[in-house]
């Protein structure tokens, strides 16, 4: 008996390994073959979505920690040790994947060269696409007056347009489209942007098809933007950090830091209770309601899961852009931890709106070659030693000498002239 049992277990194992091989083979085949035009899949679990600045009140759960069950999975789970392919084939597979990425990137770049774009006035009604960026840290910068501003630095990591959906098809396809495709700002296109190239063998074929259709490498993160028809980018077009301009204001949307289950003092800033003359209630929230009602009012602040919620910060000024490294310096702080992805788009407030800029987006054809001065000045750092960067005019550059004040600066800071009487200004 034990022998037969062993034998059956062996066959089972063989079957399992064959199954694994088969699934892996399927994966590879879909990697190397062209893609059929199957209906678009939604990956809501991964797609960060941002609407055009509407405030809608959401009822229900604040956060979901698992993707919705009715959507196809994104990550492929293949036990790699079970697959018997030789090292030579593995390296070959890696080179092929690299080549595919290279081909996709070159084609996308070539297409973007032909895309129509210009620095034009942006009407108030139009909405441009945004970027999916990664928060990589915070640095202080100084102004020319010597003031210190704390900046967040955001990396634009290989952004490509992955999908462009017209309002009609979006309306038909999804419940979100029903809400957002035809809103009070007119018909809106859904533009999906992907960031950060990833190893395609980690993802399911359904997920990978999305990228093959757009002709771009497989991306780690996707983000959606509402875009009007006049500012529509091409499918598969690469997006550059120069899509935004120095001095313009942007809006950052992302998930806040996930603190897990926290008490009332941390989560809501409650005061807690005295350290002494009380037992076992130093950090407790205290009374939760009146006696007569004998219930707790909905919305009572209590301990619970803190953070990992969608939050938007608007009116962030761009003070510096590093073009070589595709990094944007933004004045102020944005939601989320280091290394988290965010959606960055134009600010919509009328006074902070971008009035004129690259429409629909920046492409290499807009690049202007600056004329080199004939004889470089003494003491100026040659450009080849520096990063290609654009600075806000008010920002101090570290290549310049220390700040020295004159009498004029002091007068500016002095405010009201105290030799004269204080008289209220009469509005006319």
């Amino acid at each position: 008996m034990p022998g037969s049992k062993n034998k059956s277990r062996g066959t089972l194992r063989r079957k399992i390994s064959e199954k694994c091989k088969f699934s892996l083979f399927e994966m590879f085949r879909s990697l190397v073959t062209s893609v059929t035009n199957s209906p678009a899949c939604e990956f809501a679990g991964r797609i960060l979505s941002a609407n055009g600045g509407h405030i809608t009140q959401h009822r229900g759960r604040r956060r979901t920690l698992t993707p919705v069950p009715w959507l196809p999975p994104v990550n492929e789970h293949v036990p790699k040790s079970s697959v018997g392919i030789s090292k030579v084939t593995k390296t070959l597979l890696e080179t092929v994947i690299e080549k595919e990425n290279q081909v996709a990137s070159t084609f996308a770049n070539q297409a973007s060269h032909q895309a129509a774009t210009s620095i034009a006035d942006i009407p108030a009604s139009s909405r441009r696409v945004g970027l999916v960026v990664r928060k990589i840290g915070m640095l202080p910068q100084w102004t020319k007056e010597g003031g210190r501003i704390l900046c967040t630095i955001l990396e634009v990591d290989e952004n490509h347009v992955v999908g462009v959906t017209s309002p009609d098809s979006w309306y038909k396809a999804s419940a979100i489209g029903k809400r957002k495709a035809f809103n009070r700002h007119g018909p809106m296109w859904k533009v999906t942007v992907g960031a950060t190239n990833e190893d395609p063998t980690n993802y399911t074929s359904a997920y990978r098809k999305k990228f093959t259709r757009a002709g771009v490498p497989v991306k780690e993160t996707l983000g959606c933007f509402l875009v009007t028809e006049d500012a529509l980018p091409l499918l598969g077009q690469p997006l550059d950090a120069r899509h935004f301009e120095v001095g313009q204001y942007v809006t950052a949307t992302g998930k806040t830091i996930d603190w897990g289950f926290q008490g009332g003092m941390h989560r809501w800033g409650m005061r807690g209770q005295p350290t002494r003359r009380t037992t076992k209630s130093h950090r407790r929230i205290g009374s939760v309601g009146s006696v007569g009602d004998a219930r707790i009012w909905p919305g009572k602040r209590m301990p619970g899961h803190m953070g990992y919620e969608w939050r938007t910060v608007s009116g962030l000024e761009i003070v510096r852009i590093n073009i070589d490294k595709q990094v944007i310096y933004v004045k102020g702080s944005v939601p989320g931890d280091m290394g988290e992805k965010l959606l960055l788009k134009d600010c919509l407030q009328e006074e902070k709106r971008l009035k004129s800029g690259p429409m629909p987006t920046w492409t290499p054809s807009l690049e202007t070659i600056e004329e080199e001065p004939e004889s470089p000045e003494e003491g100026v750092v040659p450009k080849n030693l520096l990063f290609k960067e654009t600075f806000s005019p008010k920002l101090f550059r570290f290549t310049s000498p220390s700040i020295v004040y004159t009498d004029a600066d002091a007068k500016k800071a002095a405010g009201r002239d105290k030799t004269k009487a204080k008289i209220a200004k009469v509005k006319k």
Binding site: I136, I403, A410
Partner: protein, 287 residues
């Protein structure tokens, strides 16, 4: 029955262990043999605490550090930031728009150096008209015009916050102090002075913190805190936690990498004929 003289076998003077060693099956050979790399400073983390990585692993990002380092080096090309340690006496001249002379010079003992990168700060302490004054400077603030090390030395501790509670004579320095030159190539002197604290109350419980530069804190401590000692969580064993140390510290590879980057930067600027200023240097090294 004849037996061979087994007992006369001489035992070799090697120790015997249960396991024999097989080095061939051990770890891969080192790529670079352990030699001193040319021009690199062994005490790099002490001299350049601003070039270290963040102690929070989450905040370490190679790209961010590269951009930050570029700014820091550019700044160091424009202003001479000398070598100084916690315990050195430093003079800082900074621009101030509201003063008549438009600049301000402060002399004091450096009591703290904290944070990394462009955020790096140092604090100077002096006593002016019997009032203790501490000024915290951002090292990379462009309003700083000049930093001078008047006296290059170290103390027994790398944090002199306890001077707040010490007698004022330990943090009184002359504003017109003559700078003392440090002979190049000699090790940095360590000032082994032990300060005497004022009577309590203190800002911290210095008697339970292991500072070497304070004289006899236990007799000065109040009876209330002495009675409290048995209730205090003493964690002197934490120094044995090798990995806790590793989590916040820097690695040799990173230090070598940063120093090579600094050398490269220097070389480029020198080749461009902009300046002869050297950034990577150490007073204790022979060069």
């Amino acid at each position: 029955m004849f037996r061979p003289a087994a007992r006369e076998v001489v035992k070799l003077p090697t120790r015997f262990f249960s396991c024999k060693s097989e080095p061939t099956r051990a770890a891969p050979a080192k790529k670079s043999t352990r030699k001193e790399l040319a021009g690199l400073i062994p005490a790099f983390p002490e001299i350049y605490p601003d070039f270290l990585q963040s102690p929070v692993w989450n905040r370490r990002n190679a790209l961010k550090e590269e951009l930050e380092r570029q700014d820091m080096l550019e700044r160091r090309m424009n202003i001479d930031i000398p070598e100084f340690y916690v315990g050195s006496i430093v003079a800082v001249t900074s621009s101030d728009r509201n003063l008549g002379s438009k600049e301000h010079r402060f002399v004091g003992i450096c009591i703290r150096r904290e944070k990394e990168g462009l955020l790096h700060q140092f604090t100077l302490r002096n006593t002016i008209e019997n009032i203790g004054v501490e000024v915290m400077y951002d090292l990379y603030n462009p309003t700083i015009k000049k930093i001078e090390t008047l006296k290059l030395e170290k103390r027994l501790d790398s944090d002199l916050t306890y001077l707040v509670d010490a007698l004022p004579e330990y943090s009184t320095f002359d504003f017109h102090m003559e700078p003392q030159a440090h002979p190049a190539g000699t090790p940095i002197p360590v000032n082994e002075v032990k300060v005497k604290l004022k009577n309590p109350p203190w800002t911290r419980r210095w008697e339970i913190l292991s500072y070497r530069g304070i004289e006899d804190t236990w007799t000065q401590a109040t009876p209330w805190f002495k009675r409290k000692l048995h209730k205090t969580l003493v964690n002197d064993y934490e120094k044995y936690d090798l990995i806790a140390n590793y989590r916040t510290g820097s690695t040799k590879e990173q230090e070598v990498f940063v120093q090579e980057q600094m050398q490269k930067f220097e070389k480029e600027r020198h080749a461009a004929g902009l300046t002869r200023r050297r950034i990577l240097k150490s007073a204790a090294s022979h060069k």
